[in-house]
Symmetry: C2
Subunit: 249 residues, 2 copies
């Protein structure tokens, strides 16, 4: 399999980077950006390729620019659990640690923007805006990790599937700058097996529950991957979450 990969976006310059408003560099002043630009380089991966294995020495930290990567753990006997989905603007690696705690795998074709670790750490000390933004992002990640723990620990298979669909729907709407609404549709970026790994289920159970949701009219399928949501409210009701959740924004 020949690696024939080009950059998925047109330029290598920060000023027209698709994630410049969300990534770790979002708060940087022009001069800070310039210093970041000096230590950055891009890498591309095909769907399925590993980016990092747990325990590997990491010589860089990075931002996802386009595509999706998964963060996962595997036990000796082969059981695996996905512990995060890395979407565009998400951060890979951590300053101050040089071996990766988890596997990172490209789920779709993937482009990441890497910073050499040493220089990045130096930059963090001298330019506060990077650290501030990274703290913000990490606190958000921690909150979503904790929300996911409820899904893994307490939800039924059907609720798990509905929760995953709801998350993908919401994020997809955000990406296309539409508000999520009835009749919306999106492509599942994950195979049944990857969904199972994310949800702590088997792929058979995932398949069965998706069929069940289809039979119940909660979702419609166009092919294996394209999902149509006739009623978001009905989908949300299946997640088990408080639908009229807490606050009025």
């Amino acid at each position: 399999m020949k690696a024939k990969l080009d950059l998925a976006f047109d330029s290598k310059e920060c000023w027209n980077c698709p994630i410049k408003h969300q990534a770790v560099c979002a708060r940087c002043e022009p001069d800070e950006l310039k210093r970041l630009e000096e230590i950055k380089y891009y890498r591309n991966y095909e769907a399925g390729q590993p980016v990092i294995w747990a325990g590997d020495h990491m010589e860089f930290v990075a931002s996802v620019v386009t595509g999706i990567a998964s963060l996962s753990q595997t036990m000796e006997d082969g059981r695996t659990q996905m512990v995060g989905l890395l979407l565009p603007s998400d951060f890979i690696g951590r300053p101050g640690r040089d071996s990766a705690p988890f596997d990172v795998v490209a789920v779709s074709d993937l482009t990441i923007c890497c910073f050499r670790k040493g220089p990045f750490e130096d930059l963090m000390v001298s330019t506060p805006h990077i650290g501030t933004r990274l703290l913000e992002m990490t606190l958000d990640e921690l909150d979503s990790a904790r929300e996911w723990m409820l899904v893994l620990g307490r939800k039924t298979a059907r609720e798990k599937i509905a929760s995953l669909l709801a998350i993908i729907a919401r994020r997809d709407a955000a990406l296309t700058r539409n508000s999520p609404k009835d009749g919306m549709h999106f492509d599942l970026p994950l195979t049944r097996e990857a969904m199972a790994d994310y949800l702590g289920l088997t792929l058979e159970t995932v398949s069965r529950q998706i069929s069940a949701l289809k039979k119940a009219g909660i979702i419609e399928l166009d092919g294996k991957r394209r999902v149509i949501v006739p009623s978001l409210e009905k989908l949300m009701a299946e997640t088990g979450d408080d639908v009229d959740g807490g606050f009025i924004p």
Copy 2:
């Protein structure tokens, strides 16, 4: 029930605070510490008392000084999942957000060191050492949350119990500055129900699996709460984790 609570440590001054080397203030210079000292105050809770409910407005952030608190989520139908155990030096709340995402409850008698949120946020901007330390702590929390996702998503009931015991054993050894060793013993800080909430199980299953581990000679019990570990290696083998894990520290 009358609230008759005194500070569990002797002084309110930072210089002899038991968590000064691990907490969010660990990196502070004397002058930074002084400014922190001006905005801090202590609060005490009895075991079982709530500290914050999810959705509450938070007027402070805080560090756990002594005791244990739990961080948890509850669904409308009453299913609950603990998403974190807060031990001495752990941080509660987050700058830049004013409603709590999770419930915080005192598991044991608890003392926390609170900082008024507004002034704390101002201080974070002007003194980089607080933000640096908070980032470090948050990244560590994120790693452990992700490790816990493997436990919740993929481990059997027996492996879950063994994992929890191993974690408590390790932390208890760290606290008493002993290295964990065969024959060590410690008190379970959690009821069977709290363990169940942490592990995504029912309390009956927790009880049965503890009995099973006892019968198998992996642990011994002295009363309901005190646990003796004759062989750490055997306990670790029950967790399902890679026992000869990766690195030699």
